[in-house]
Amino acid sequence: MITPLTYTILLALADGDRHGYGIIKEIEARLGPAAAPSTGALYLALQRMENEGLVTESPALPGPDEDARRRYYRITRRGREAVRTESARLAALVETARQKKLLPRRADA
């Protein structure tokens, strides 16, 4: 099991390498401004996730219009596994909630 913040950060990195500010922007864009952690909490989590091998510093420079001076983070294989495991666990929980009529089914489901 991983913490919700770890999960959120891993999701933000799932489709590309980002620096700290980029992670914040991605979270804000997907989940709203309230979901973004404070800068302190973000870097605390990133350092921990790096130590646990969930993310790594991105070796190559990102695209031409990106800021080369910044440190970029990349999700590792282990990170992807963790997201998959956690997503499956959450999906199971959500499915249970649906069956118990705590969550309406989506219209297209």
Binding site: G40, Y43, L44, Q47, N51
Partner: protein
């Protein structure tokens, strides 16, 4: 770097170095970008900053304790060094849980702290604006204000005569350059699309912007030679006027407009936020002197410019002052008629700008520190009273092996949590307070800086928060570390047995609270009484039902004396013809709005060494005295026959007659406004004496004043005063209509009921009163809470004893007396200490009080009575409750 970034960087210091080395710059950059995204709304910025600061603090705590176990592996040694902080997180969590369990206590404590911290934040942000915030000029610490001094006239920081200013500028080498601006704002009438508009103009020398080191945002500032060209017609616009009247169009530079009846070219627009010398300044015009002026006597006699100098890079202020003295002495010898005793001085620009607000701000700051102390004492008290109830828990923790320090830390952390919550709420209150301060008066160094929450204010609040957390936490912590373990557990019972030593501390704290409350309510009471006294002073004229409207006859269409007088006469007639206007008159400057100008004088037949100094001048007509109901004491009023071609006449006020013609009859005397009057002087005959009017404020006695007649000393920019039959401001449309009939191109510069002028003259006193009054009320409330809490606790502790007494037949009155005796002792001690301290502290108020001494006995008696009464009620209520308990029940309770 902005203040916000500085704060963030400062907080980052708390984070272990290894982590900071790796992530510090990245974090700062991320923070900066996010702050930019948040936008300019103060509230959302504030919320963001609080959240970010908390985030970094949390990060530091986690890294330095076991919390961020994986994250700290960047450098494990640092954690071992910080081993003392192990378990801090648990303490924080535990503290938060404990506080959640007693929300009433937590809420009360937070509110009390927020009041103290909020009030000090608001006052500090005002003080910050005046004392610390950088002035918006390049190298502002090299700028000095120059002024004239004159012992004969009692001048200490007078505006300078332009001729003297020019000599200083040319002869003092320690000044890089000296500029001069007008100390009054003039209204410049300007025509845009055929519509007349009035703008507030500041007259300046051509080097004004260069001396301040401010560059135009568009176009250019003035050049020195433009000071001298009356025909040149150039103007620099403020950013505000450029936006409101010219649509922010940069193409306006170079265009011609009619300003003050003259074609004038816009040469520049100043940057946003620059509005020196006054926040009202909308445009800058050159003085427009002629070189010939320099040799004319009036140019050295009339004192109306404010010189501001930039020190040369190698010059010290002392050298500049010495050089200035040399020049001043030279001028005294060269121009004995005007300069014989004229001195000069200089002071740093900031000192000059804050000279009027320094004292009130220091007083308010002192008061707010007392208030914060009172809040701390109050919360300490609450904590102790509650601590008494927690005595058993703490003793148990000791018994289970928790070290004294560990327990102390636990309590301290709880207090800090409370303080932080109080600080967060306090900053919100402070922000609201800042808004109120700004709205209450036009504070802010005029045109140079504004009151706002910036990084320094937030740091101050943080410091105040931490200090108060430690301060009010001290007493409970000390008790926890020295308490008796064994005794507390076996005492058992309700745990309400705080022990005698605990009660003693609480009582001491209440005494301190009463002392502080007395100081604050006393200050409020003194200021209130002084204000009421000032309000009851008769200003010497009617203030109700009078409308004053400023109307200037533009020189383009009314070039000379005859045209202006005809315009003013027609206007008066048109106004008086309206049914809701009873009578109209003219005056050059309203009373209580300061003097217009002053001079010395001699009467015909006086010896050369008899000179009347510093008489004030005002120009008016008979209508003015009629509208304001200023009685003629003796002699006669101005009459229509006193025209320009008739002998010149003046009226004087009673103070003039008393001071300058003691034992003589002034009426019929002939006077001239020169210190060496002779045949070439202009002589006036005194025809009457009118009653005094206050010229500055109701708190300043009327000074000797002379009135010239409008028909003889005519002027353009006039205040029309009208006695109205309806609410003054409701008559304004009528005035506009009447004016439009006469000349649709003349605008009304300003309109205000005379009542507002009267009130505005006491604005400073009102400002101090409102703030000190609010502090006084809060202090009274806090002291009440303190007295109530301690009596209630004592009552609870003695429930059983009271039960026994009652059961044995004691009357409830006896028991109440017994309980009241304790609180009266502690309140009495507080009052005595407060009275002793107030003897010293109140002296600081001396300069802002009117009509009473700092230790006014009436105020003292009233304040002591009010405080005693409030304290008596606060202790009677819980005592009464205690005796109303059924003896059987209270005994069973054990």
């Amino acid at each position: 770097m902005s203040a916000n970034e500085r704060l963030f960087r400062l907080l980052l210091r708390l984070v272990p170095e290894s982590f900071r080395e790796r992530h510090g710059e990245e974090m700062l950059e991320t923070h900066r970008l996010r702050l930019r995204d948040v936008g300019d709304r103060t509230m959302s910025r504030l919320a963001f900053l609080v959240r970010e600061s908390w985030g970094v603090l949390w990060l530091a705590v986690r890294l330095r304790t076991g919390g961020g176990r994986a994250a700290r592996s960047a450098r494990p040694a640092s954690v071992q060094r910080m081993g003392m902080l192990d378990g801090m997180v648990q303490d924080v969590r535990f503290g938060a849980r404990t506080l959640r369990r007693s929300p009433g206590y937590a809420l009360l404590a937070v509110i009390v702290l927020a009041l103290g911290i909020g009030a000090s934040t608001a006052i500090f942000s005002a003080a910050n604006a005046f004392f610390f915030r950088p002035l918006p000029f390049a190298d502002a610490d090299r700028l000095v204000m120059l002024y004239e001094t004159n012992p004969e006239y009692g001048w200490t920081d007078q505006t300078a005569a332009p001729a003297n200013f020019l000599d200083w500028r040319e002869q003092v080498s320690a000044f890089d350059d000296v500029a001069a601006y007008s100390s009054f704002i003039d209204d410049a009438s300007y025509v845009l699309d055929g519509e007349p508009v009035l703008l507030a103009a500041s007259a300046v020398t051509g080097n004004f912007f260069d001396v301040l080191g401010v560059r135009a945002a568009h176009g250019r500032g003035f050049r020195w030679d433009e000071t001298w060209a009356p025909g040149a017609g150039v103007v620099v616009l403020s950013h505000r006027v450029w936006m409101t009247h010219f649509g922010g169009d940069p193409g306006v530079v170079g265009r011609m407009y009619e300003i003050g009846g003259r074609p004038t070219q816009v040469v520049g627009v100043m940057p946003d936020g620059f509005s020196f010398p006054s926040s009202e300044t909308e445009l800058w015009l050159p003085w427009g002197w002629t070189p010939a002026n320099r040799d004319e006597v009036w140019f050295r006699r009339a004192h109306f410019v404010r010189p501001i100098a930039r020190l040369a890079s190698e010059a010290t202020p002392a050298r500049a002052a010495a050089e200035l003295d040399v020049v001043v002495e030279r001028l005294q010898r060269a121009y004995p008629e005007t300069n014989s005793v004229m001195g000069a001085g200089m002071m740093p620009l900031r000192d000059f700008l804050i000279r009027d607000v320094r004292r009130p701000l220091l007083i308010l700051f002192g008061a707010v520190v007392l208030l914060l102390l009172l809040a701390c004492a109050n919360v300490a008290n609450l904590t102790l009273v509650r601590g008494a109830e927690r005595g058993r828990e703490i003793a148990l923790r000791h018994a289970l092996g928790a070290g004294r320090l560990r327990v102390a830390r636990q309590l301290l952390i709880e207090n800090l949590l409370l303080a932080l919550a109080g600080g967060a709420l306090g900053i919100a209150l402070g922000w609201a307070g800042v808004r109120a301060l700004a709205a209450l008066t036009q504070l802010g160094i005029d045109g140079a800086t504004t009151i706002a929450l910036d990084g320094r204010v937030i740091l101050f609040t943080l410091a105040a928060t931490l200090a108060s957390g430690i301060l009010f936490g001290l007493a409970p912590v000390m008790r926890a570390t020295t308490g008796r373990i064994h005794g507390t557990i076996i005492e058992g019972g309700t745990g309400a047995s705080a022990g005698r030593s605990g009660l003693r501390t609480v009582r001491a704290l209440v005494t301190v609270e009463v002392t502080l409350a007395l100081l604050l309510t006393m200050a409020a009471g003194l200021v209130m009484r002084s204000f009421l006294l000032m309000r009851s002073v008769d200003p010497g004229f009617r203030t109700e039902g009078v409308l004053a409207v400023q109307i200037t006859a533009p020189s383009a269409r009314y070039p000379g004396r005859d045209e202006v007088l005809a315009f003013q006469d027609r206007l008066a007639a048109a106004l008086e013809a309206r049914p809701d206007i009873e009578r109209a008159g003219f005056v050059a400057r309203l009373p209580l709005d300061g003097p217009s100008w002053s001079s010395q004088f001699q009467a015909r037949g006086w010896p050369p060494d008899r000179i009347g100094f510093e008489i004030l001048h005002r120009r008016a007509d008979a209508g003015y005295f009629d509208v304001l109901e200023i009685p003629l004491v003796r002699g006669r009023m101005f009459e229509p026959r006193d025209r320009g071609d008739a002998p010149l006449v003046v009226l004087i006020n009673e103070t003039f007659a008393r001071e300058h013609f003691p034992g003589e009859d002034p009426i019929g005397q002939r006077i001239a406004f020169d210190r060496a009057a002779d045949e070439r002087s202009t002589w006036y005959e005194i025809i009457g004496i009118v009653a005094d009017q206050h010229q500055l404020s109701p708190g300043v006695p009327a000074r000797a004043e002379v009135f010239e007649h409008r028909y003889q000393d005519w002027w353009r920019g006039a205040w029309v005063v009208m006695r109205t039959r309806a609410e003054p401001m409701s008559v304004l449309p009528t005035v506009r209509a009447a004016l439009r009939e006469i000349d649709p191109l003349v605008p009304i510069a300003e309109a205000q009921p005379l009542r507002d002028v009267w009130r505005a003259s006491m604005a400073r006193e009102e400002f101090i009163l409102v703030l000190l009054g609010a502090f006084g009320v809060v202090a009274l409330l806090l002291a009440t809470v303190g007295v109530y809490a301690v009596t209630a606790q004592a009552a609870r502790r003695r429930t059983r004893e009271i039960g026994i007494r009652m059961a044995l037949g004691a009357r409830s009155a006896d028991v109440i007396t017994l309980m009241l005796r304790h609180s009266l002792v502690m309140v009495g001690a507080g009052l005595a200490a407060g009275l002793a301290l107030s003897l010293v502290a109140n002296r600081a108020l001396g300069s802002v009080l009117y009509g009473i001494a700092p230790n006014d006995p009436v105020t003292t008696v009233i304040v002591v009575l009010v405080l005693s009464a409030v304290a008596a009620v606060a202790s009677y209520v819980p005592a009464r409750t205690a005796t109303s308990v059924d003896p059987v029940r209270s005994l069973k309770q054990e």
